[in-house]
C-alpha cells in the first residue's frame, strides 16, 4: 500500500502500517499524546491525538490508525483544540499540577508539561478516582491518585516485558491498575524492570530511590552505559551535588531503546555505598587488611610465578567479565596466552 497522503496540507509518503502520529512526527508535526508509547500496541485511550480525516464523520485517534494513501488529515483546528483542551482539563481535574511529585523531584511529567504547553488550567472540579497503593517493594512507588489511566504501564508490562504483572481491573471511573487480586508487586510476576515507571506520563509510578534526594531543577543528566552486563544498555545518570541520585534509560540508545532491567534501573546505588572497597585487601593471618596496590600486585606476581613453576601454565584458568570493556577483555586473553601460556580463557558473556 504505497502512496501519498496529506497532513495539514503537506504531502507525506505512506509507509504501510505506520500510524498517523508517527508519520506526522516524521515531518515535524507533533500531535499531542499521553497514552502513546510507540513500542507497544496503541490503546487510544487518552483521545488527545484526535485528528480529522476528510470523509470521516468523527475524528480518529491518530495513534491507532495507519496513514493511508489519499488520506487528508487535519491535525490542528479550533474544534480539535477545544476538544483537546477539555480532555486535558478533565485529566487535570483528577491530577492537578500542584500535587505532582514527579514534576517537583524528578523532572516535568508528560501530563503537566503538556498542560503547561497548551496553557490548560483545571477548570473542572470533582472526585478523583485512584488511591495510593501501599506496596512494600523497595523500588516502585504506586500512587494512583496521580494516575490518568493511559494504560501505558500495563501494556508495557504485558506486551513488551511479557511480565504480565499488572493489568487494568474494575470498570469505568473505578478502574484500577492491579496485580492478581490486588496484591503487592513482590507477590506478582513483576521483575522490577522499572519500565512501568519509565513509561508513566505522570507521577503515579515513581522510582522510590529517587524521591527525597533533590529538587528536579538541581539535577543534570549524564549519558552513560550500564556497567552491569555485556549488553551495554544506554542510561542517563541523574546527578545532583556531585552525587548520582538516580537512573533513567537512554531512549535513543540503539541497544535498548529505553528498556532496562532491574540491575541497571535500580542497582546503581552501589556507587555511593559506604561498603564499597577503597583499597586492595590482603588476607593476613586470616584477616583482610588494607594494603597498597604495590603490595597487592607484588603478592599476585609472586604467587602466579610460584604456581607456574611448580605446576605449569595448564594449572591456570582465566575467566573474564563482560562488565569489562572489549579492550580489557582482549588484554585478558592476551595475558592468558602470551604471559601465562594457556588457552584456558573464557568469558561470562559466552553462556
Amino acid at each position: 500500500m504505497k502512496g501519498k497522503a496529506r497532513i495539514d496540507g503537506r504531502s507525506v509518503d505512506c509507509v504501510p502500517g505506520q500510524s498517523i502520529v508517527a508519520a506526522a512526527k516524521g515531518i515535524g508535526i507533533a500531535i499531542p499524546t499521553l497514552c502513546y508509547d510507540p513500542r507497544v500496541e496503541p490503546s487510544a485511550t487518552c483521545r488527545l491525538c484526535l485528528v480529522k480525516v476528510k470523509g470521516r464523520r468523527l475524528p480518529v485517534a491518530a495513534c491507532a490508525h495507519a496513514l493511508e494513501p489519499e488520506m487528508e488529515v487535519t491535525s490542528e483546528d479550533p474544534d480539535l483544540e477545544s476538544w483537546r483542551r477539555t480532555i486535558l482539563a478533565l485529566a487535570l481535574s483528577e491530577n492537578p499540577a500542584a500535587e505532582c511529585r514527579r514534576c517537583a523531584e524528578i523532572g516535568p511529567c508528560e501530563l503537566h508539561a503538556l498542560a503547561k504547553k497548551l496553557a490548560v488550567s483545571p477548570v473542572f472540579q470533582g472526585a478523583a478516582s485512584g488511591r495510593f497503593k501501599e506496596d512494600s517493594n523497595p523500588f516502585i512507588r504506586r500512587d494512583y491518585e496521580q494516575c490518568i489511566y493511559c494504560y501505558r504501564c500495563t501494556r508495557v508490562c504485558g506486551e513488551l516485558e511479557q511480565a504480565h504483572a499488572i493489568a487494568p481491573a474494575g470498570r469505568g471511573f473505578k478502574s484500577r491498575i492491579a496485580t492478581f487480586f490486588d496484591g503487592g508487586l513482590l507477590e506478582s510476576s513483576c521483575t522490577f524492570c522499572g519500565q512501568c515507571v519509565q513509561t508513566c506520563p505522570t507521577g503515579a509510578l515513581m522510582d522510590k530511590k529517587m524521591l527525597g534526594k533533590a529538587r528536579a531543577t538541581e539535577a543534570t543528566k549524564v549519558r552513560s552505559v550500564c556497567p552491569f552486563c555485556g549488553t551495554g544498555c544506554g542510561i542517563e545518570l541523574h546527578v545532583a551535588r556531585g552525587r548520582v541520585i538516580g537512573v533513567t534509560p537512554d531512549w535513543n540508545a540503539p541497544v535498548n531503546q529505553g528498556s532496562l532491567c532491574v540491575k541497571g534501573q535500580f542497582g546503581l546505588d552501589f556507587i555511593h555505598s559506604p561498603e564499597r572497597l577503597t583499597t586492595p585487601l590482603i588476607r593476613r593471618n586470616g584477616k583482610l587488611t588494607a594494603a597498597t596496590w604495590d603490595e597487592a600486585y607484588g603478592l599476585i606476581v609472586g604467587k602466579f610465578q610460584q604456581i607456574k613453576d611448580e605446576s605449569g601454565p595448564g594449572a591456570f584458568a582465566l575467566w573474564s567479565s563482560s562488565r569489562g570493556t572489549s579492550e580489557s577483555n582482549y588484554l585478558m586473553q592476551k595475558f592468558a596466552r602470551a604471559v601465562i601460556g594457556t588457552n584456558n580463557i573464557d568469558n561470562c558473556a559466552r553462556t
Binding site: L34, E41, P42, S43, A44, T45, C46, R47, L48, L50, L58, P59, A61, A64, H65, D79, S82, W83, T86, I87, L90, A91, S93, E94, V123, F124, Q125, G126, A127, S129, I148, Y149, C150, T154, G158, E159, H164, A165, I166, A167, P168, A169, G170, R171, G172, F173, K174, S175, A178, T179, F180, F181, S188, S189
Partner: protein, 550 residues
C-alpha cells in the same frame, strides 16, 4: 491488535465466559478457581483478573457479595414508578423489565414488584400486520408450532437448492437494516463477511440488550427461539460460517434455558448441527451468557468479551466483518434484525416494504416504558408517528397528566419534547432534531417527572457502565453527573454549570471511541435545547415538578 487464536486444544470457540460462570460459586470467584482457570485457558493471572473484575455479576473474593438489589435506572426512578421500599438495597443496572418497573434482583434472578410475567410477558397486539410477533403468539414455543408456520422452511430451501444469489437479492432489496442501534444494511454486512479473507468465519447474535428502556428482543428470546436459530443458520450459510454464538445478557436467565432447549430440539431434527437438512452444511450454535455490562452490547466489546479479554471497545476500522472474533470475519447482528431474515426470504422484499410507512420498509419492535398507561412492546410500521405509538398504542400518560418529554433509542437516541410528537419514527426523520431511532426504546415522562432529574439518572447509568477506556468518557460522565447532582439538589452548584456541561458533552460526543461516550451528549443537549427554562430554574434551585429537593 495482535492476532489471537482460540485455544487449539479446545473445540469451544469462546470458552472464557462459560468457564467463569462454571467456576463462580454464587457469583463469587475465588482465588484458587481463577488460578486453575488461568492455567487451563493459558492466560496470565493478571489478565484473567482484569477481564473478570469488569462485570457487575462476577464478584471476586473480598468483594461485597451481591445478594439482592433494585434498579434505580432511568425508568425505574421516574416519579410514580420508584420503588418506595428497599432503600437499603444496592442498585443494579437496568435489567430490561422497564415495562414492569420497578425491577428487582435476587440471587441470580430478576423480577418485578409489579408483575410476575418477567421475560415471558406477551407483547401488546397492534392493529396492523405483525411479522415477528405473529410467531410469538402461538400457544406453545415448541418446535412443532414453529414448523407448522413453515419454520425452518427457508433454511432447508437454501441448503437444498443453494439459492444464495436469490436470497442475497431479496435481502438487499428489502432494505433491512440493523435494529440494534446503528441501522447498518444487513445484506452489505453479510456480503462483506462472505467475501472477506480468513477462516473460520463466525456468526454472532447480539442478545445483550442493555439499553435502558429497551426490552424488544426479550419476547423473541423467551417466546420464540426457533425464529432466531433459523435466522442464524441462514446467516451462517450465506456468509460462510459454521459456528454461531448467541451473546445473551446475564439479566435474561430464563431465556438461556429456552434457547438451550430449542437448540437441542433443532439438532435432534437435523435442523442444526452437522449436515443441516441432509446437506453438507454444518452449523453449531453456542450460547454465552454475559455477566452484567452494558458496553458489552457494543459489538467490538462483545467480541473482546467472548475472547476473554477486558471487554472494552476496539478502535475501528477494521470492522468485525473483516477482523471479528479471534480476528476472523464475523457477522454481528441484533436479535430483531436476524429474525426478519427468514420472513423476508419467505414472503419477499415487497411484502417487507409494504409493512413500512412513508417510504420506510418493515416493522419495528418499539418498547414503550415510563409514564404511560400501557407500557410494553409493540410491533408497528417503521415510520409510525411518535404520537400514535405513545398516545394511542401505549395509552399516553395516566389520566389527568400530560406528556412532557420522551426519549428515543432507549436513552441513547436523544430526548424530545411534547412538540415533537408528530415525528415519524424511522431511520431518517429524527436526525433533523439531532436524535436517532436507535434500538426503538421510548421512555415517556409526564408533568410529574423532572427532566433534569431524569437526565441525571441517564448520566448516572452511563457513568456506571462506561468501560473506562477513554479519558473523556471515563471522567466526563462523572463530572457531568456531579454537575447534575448540583442541579438536582444533591451537591454544590458551581457557577457556569451549563457551559461546563456543554463543553464536556460536546467533547465526549466528538472524541469518545464508542457509541456509549458518543451518545451521552444527546440527552444532555436535548435538555438544554428543549427544556431550557426548566433547566434554568434548576440553576436557581427550583424544580417545577417538585422532584428535586433543595
Amino acid at each position: 491488535m495482535k492476532e489471537l487464536r482460540p485455544n487449539p486444544q479446545s473445540s469451544d470457540p469462546a470458552p472464557f465466559l462459560a468457564e467463569l460462570h462454571r467456576v463462580a460459586k454464587g457469583g463469587l470467584l475465588s482465588r484458587t478457581a481463577l488460578e486453575e482457570l488461568a492455567a487451563s485457558l493459558q492466560t496470565p493471572l493478571a489478565d484473567l483478573y482484569s477481564a473478570a473484575s469488569f462485570y457487575h455479576y462476577f464478584k471476586l473474593d473480598g468483594d461485597e457479595p451481591l445478594g439482592e438489589g433494585v434498579c434505580r435506572g432511568p425508568v425505574c426512578s421516574l416519579s410514580g414508578i420508584t420503588a418506595r421500599a428497599h432503600f437499603d438495597l444496592p442498585s443494579i443496572s437496568c435489567p430490561g423489565l422497564c415495562d414492569q418497573a420497578p425491577a428487582r434482583y435476587d440471587r441470580g434472578d430478576f423480577s418485578s414488584a409489579a408483575s410476575s410475567d418477567g421475560g415471558f410477558r406477551l407483547p401488546h397486539r397492534a392493529n396492523g400486520e405483525e411479522a415477528l410477533f405473529h410467531h410469538i403468539r402461538a400457544p406453545d414455543r415448541r418446535l412443532e408450532s414453529y414448523r407448522r408456520n413453515d419454520g425452518y422452511g427457508m433454511l432447508l430451501n437454501l441448503v437444498q437448492n443453494k439459492s444464495d444469489d436469490d436470497a442475497f437479492a431479496a435481502l438487499q432489496a428489502s432494505g433491512l437494516s440493523g435494529r440494534g442501534g446503528a441501522a447498518f444494511p444487513l445484506a452489505l454486512k453479510w456480503r462483506a463477511v462472505r467475501d472477506a479473507e480468513g477462516s473460520p468465519k463466525y456468526v454472532v447474535c447480539n442478545a445483550d440488550e442493555g439499553e435502558p428502556g429497551t426490552f424488544k428482543d426479550r419476547p423473541i428470546l423467551h417466546l420464540q427461539p426457533h425464529l432466531l436459530l433459523e435466522a442464524m443458520a441462514i446467516a451462517g450459510y450465506l456468509a460462510g460460517a459454521n459456528v454461531g454464538i448467541i451473546y445473551l445478557r446475564y439479566e435474561y436467565p430464563r431465556a438461556y434455558d429456552v434457547l438451550a432447549k430449542a437448540i437441542g430440539e433443532a439438532e435432534e431434527e437435523g435442523l442444526l448441527g452437522s449436515n443441516v437438512g441432509g446437506s453438507s452444511f454444518c452449523f453449531q450454535i453456542h450460547i454465552r451468557r454475559g455477566a452484567g455490562s452494558y458496553v458489552c452490547g457494543e459489538e467490538s466489546a462483545l467480541l473482546n468479551s467472548l475472547e476473554g479479554r477486558r471487554p472494552w471497545p476496539r478502535e475501528r476500522p477494521p470492522y468485525p466483518t473483516s477482523r471479528g472474533l479471534w480476528g476472523r470475519p464475523t457477522v454481528v447482528n441484533n436479535v430483531e434484525t436476524l429474525c426478519f431474515v427468514p420472513l423476508i426470504l419467505r414472503h419477499g422484499a415487497d411484502w417487507f416494504g409494504s409493512l413500512g410507512r412513508g417510504g420506510s420498509s418493515g416493522t419495528k419492535i418499539y418498547s414503550v416504558s415510563g409514564r404511560v398507561c400501557r407500557p410494553g412492546n409493540f410491533e408497528l410500521p417503521v415510520g409510525i408517528s411518535a404520537r400514535e405509538l405513545i398516545m394511542d398504542y401505549a395509552g399516553g400518560p395516566p389520566s389527568g397528566r400530560s406528556l412532557k418529554a420522551f426519549t428515543l433509542g432507549g436513552i441513547s437516541g436523544g430526548l424530545l419534547a411534547s412538540e415533537h410528537l408528530s415525528l415519524s419514527l424511522d431511520y431518517r426523520s429524527p436526525a433533523k432534531h439531532g436524535v436517532f431511532l436507535g434500538s426503538g426504546g421510548v421512555i415517556v415522562l409526564d408533568d410529574q417527572c423532572c427532566v433534569v432529574d431524569f437526565v441525571r439518572s441517564c448520566v448516572l447509568f452511563y457513568e456506571a457502565e462506561s468501560c473506562g477506556k477513554c479519558t473523556p468518557c471515563r471522567i466526563g460522565t462523572v463530572r457531568l453527573r456531579e454537575l447534575l447532582d448540583g442541579l438536582t439538589g444533591r451537591g454544590n452548584l458551581p457557577s457556569g454549570v451549563r457551559q461546563q456541561m456543554e463543553k464536556i458533552s460536546d467533547t465526549m460526543g466528538a472524541s469518545s471511541a464508542c457509541g456509549l461516550g458518543q451518545s451521552v451528549p444527546l440527552v444532555v443537549s436535548g435538555m438544554g435545547r428543549f427544556f431550557a427554562e426548566e433547566l434554568r430554574e434548576h440553576t436557581q434551585r427550583k424544580c417545577r415538578a417538585g422532584v428535586c429537593r433543595f
